[in-house]
């Protein structure tokens, strides 16, 4: 009798404590999940650059178009017959570099990283060249950039990382 009672007490103790701890423990993932909403109200990740012949085809060598930097944070760069979109976001900590056309250099104001016009890092703490974004011709024949798809320098020759003109 006495022994049974003790066992029941232990069982209830474990049950009580266990459910208490389980509830407290569960509240942590629930709280974390709460902070990740299902729907986001962010801008669409794609934007239209223009028709292929809008970008002056007569240039040889390398040219950096700054027209989309202000609004979308993207530089369109034409290198020979290749067109690619450079993400205007320093690979160090995400500041927006500035382009110095006379030197042909992107400079980051936050920690002094510098990149050549094709995005190659050559000074400062940046660990890798500037990332590129997916660039493609959409169904209407317009050059489109998708800012959600990033290519790091290992994938620069992959399909989508550049556009052949």
């Amino acid at each position: 009798m006495e022994k049974d009672r003790l066992r029941r007490r232990t069982f209830l103790k474990i049950l009580g404590l266990g459910s208490f701890l389980a509830t407290v423990g569960l509240s942590i993932p629930i709280t974390v999940r709460f902070l990740f909403p299902r729907v986001l109200f962010e801008r669409p990740s794609t934007f239209i650059v223009g028709r292929p012949d809008d970008l002056n085809p007569a240039t040889t060598g390398l040219r950096v178009y700054e027209d989309w930097k202000e609004e979308y944070g993207v530089w369109i760069v034409r290198e020979g017959n290749r067109l690619y979109a450079i993400n205007a976001r320093c690979t160090h900590l995400g500041c927006t570099p500035n382009y110095f056309a006379d030197e042909g250099v992107f400079k980051c104001p936050c920690h002094g990283s510098q990149f050549r016009s094709n995005g190659l890092n050559f000074a400062g703490p940046a660990p890798r060249p500037l990332d590129r974004l997916r660039i493609y011709i959409n169904d209407d024949g317009m050059i489109t950039v998708d800012r959600a798809r990033l290519y790091t320098y290992k994938d620069f020759d992959r399909k989508g990382a550049y556009l052949k003109l």
């Binding site: 990740f36 909403p37 986001l40 109200f41 962010e42 900590l93 995400g94 500041c95 936050c110």
Partner: protein
């Protein structure tokens, strides 16, 4: 003092007065004790403290000053909240509004900002003082830990406060900081050994989005006005309580 008017004597003899002020104010030992012991705010002090604790050269008064600055932050912050809307469209406009159109608005904002800067400075000095006087040694070890926690909370308070004006400084400070966090191993999407994408990492958790926007501003705002101050107050209560219980440090 026998030249008190009859009115004054009547007031002091009334039930209302006596219900509020429980003891006399004459300079007697008993009253000096009661003044501390019967007052909830002053009761943070012991009735008596050792002579050396009064010396400014010993304490620099930095802990007290820090607490006072915290109170200034709470007051000015509450007033600023009357005119502040935590949305990217409105926040910066509110700064200009406070500056040009709200009487004394700019002084209030200045005080809030400068008191915050000063507070960090005084906390650091307080820490230096406590270290140099060996006041973290037994039995006060744990209070030093609480103090470090309070330092971290204060730094986070300043940091979350910085985003709120939504100016260039805010924006880029947050950009850099959250990108550092996003570069952490495992839990940040740009860090080594990470399997998460930019929609499911710790940076997203802080920003409430994949980029800095209205959710981020709101999250920082809530942290700044509720979560961190309340946490800070709880830790402060423990901090002061332990000073009260252990007494001020003194040579063995």
């Amino acid at each position: 003092m026998e030249n008190k008017s009859a009115l004054w004597r009547w007031i002091k003899g009334s039930r209302v007065y006596k219900s509020i002020f429980r003891h006399g104010y004459e300079d007697t030992k008993k009253n000096r004790i009661l003044q501390i012991r019967s007052n909830v705010f002053l009761h943070i002090h012991p009735v008596k403290i050792p002579d050396h604790a009064y010396r400014i050269r010993f304490t620099w008064c930095m802990g007290g000053i820090t607490f006072f600055l915290f109170l200034v932050e709470v007051m000015t912050g509450a007033f600023l909240m009357f005119y502040y809307t935590p949305t990217p469209e409105q926040a910066y406009r509110d700064m200009l509004y406070l500056r040009y159109d709200v009487p004394f608005g700019m002084i209030l904002r200045n005080m809030h900002r400068w008191a915050a800067h000063l507070m960090i400075f005084t906390i650091i000095l307080h820490m230096l003082r406590v270290f140099l006087t060996g006041s973290y040694k037994p039995p006060r070890e744990f209070n030093w830990v609480i103090g470090v926690t309070l330092l971290v909370i204060t730094l986070l308070l300043s940091f979350t406060g910085y985003l709120l004006p939504w100016d260039q400084l805010s924006y880029w400070a947050i950009t850099v900081a959250t990108n550092m966090i996003g570069a952490m191993p495992f839990i940040g999407h740009e860090g080594p050994l990470s399997l998460l994408d930019r929609y499911h990492d710790i940076r997203f958790l802080i920003l409430g989005g994949s980029e800095i926007g209205s959710n981020a501003l709101l999250r920082f705002y809530v942290m700044h006005i509720i979560v961190l101050p309340v946490t800070g107050m709880i830790f402060m209560a423990v901090h002061f309580w332990r000073v009260r219980k252990d007494g001020i440090s003194r040579p063995l």
